[in-house]
Symmetry: none
Subunit: 155 residues, 2 copies
DNA sequence: AAGTAGAAGGTCAGGAAAGGTCAATAATGA
DNA sequence: TCATTATTGACCTTTCCTGACCTTCTACTT
């Protein structure tokens, strides 16, 4: 519990809690400086503690003026719904099931009609048939991605 | 946003916003002077931020009395933007260009932030890299598909 | 008209300033 | 013990910034 990774995790979660906009931005080397550790230790913490499964999204930019940006995902009621959805999807997702899921999300008013149409047009479009190895698997992976995006607190 | 390039970008966009003609004219060396940097830094900003995908056109003239002219490209409001977009997309569409295009659509208020995030998460997602033969070609096709969906009157 | 000096902007390579990755080692705990 | 988790450091990629050198244009001189 007293270990570095846990302390950094706690620190980040505390300031993330207070962030009204649902995200925080900071610099890796600076944070490493605060905890007197190597910068890659920050990556370790992000990789192990701030995963999508745990309700976080991490974006970054390199180069001069680079940054880390940690986004909170909704963990409330809707968030739990997302979790259920993820399990529903499983490893494969057929076209029909995708359409069903999107319709359901529209009914639940979690996505708009337009958003649903967008997703359907991409994931059920036949502009791609035959291009892939394993379209159902891919569709499932993309759908999880979509759900994650929809639950971002910064949008 | 502490870096120079971002500040110059912001500055240019701000005065472009206020320009009644839809374009601004200025001198490279002068602008460099304002930001106390070398003139080529201006080119860097123009090359990376004021691209056609993002809705800008840069013209210039050398020699005595030379200038830079940045033009804001308008997307015809009444669904005419479809043609322009299709042209811009072409046969292949890189991740960066996609992001530029989506940002522009958001700016023009043709799509919402959430919709843009959705599209980006699907089409730039790295969950897929390496799965396909020719991801850039596919991305272009999908993007055109999306445009069609967006122009549907029933949404 | 031709030539030329000076005043723009353009290009490109290299260095600096971020963050990313990976493998080796250390610490922890069942 | 020994398997998992944590920590470090060496090396990589991306983005930004600068400076040296190049090209184009105008104006002036002869």
């Amino acid at each position: 519990m007293g270990n570095l990774a846990d302390r950094i995790e706690e620190y980040l979660k505390r300031i993330l809690e207070q962030a009204s906009e649902g995200y925080i931005m900071l610099q890796r080397s600076e944070l490493a400086g605060v905890f007197s550790c190597v910068p890659s230790q920050i990556n370790y913490v992000l990789d192990t503690r701030f995963t999508v499964e745990r309700g976080y999204l991490v974006e970054s930019r390199r180069g001069g003026g680079g940054y880390l940006r940690i986004v909170r995902l909704e963990l409330g009621l809707e968030g739990q719904y997302q979790q259920v959805m993820r399990q529903l999807i499983g490893e494969q997702l057929s076209r029909d099931r995708l359409n069903g899921l999107m319709d359901r999300l529209v009914n639940e008013e979690l996505v708009t009609l337009r958003e649903a149409a967008l997703v359907k047009s991409i994931l059920s479009g036949d502009a791609l048939s035959g291009e892939f190895r394993d379209w159902d698997v891919l569709r499932a992976r993309l759908m999880k991605n979509i759900l994650t995006t929809l639950s971002r607190e910064d949008l």
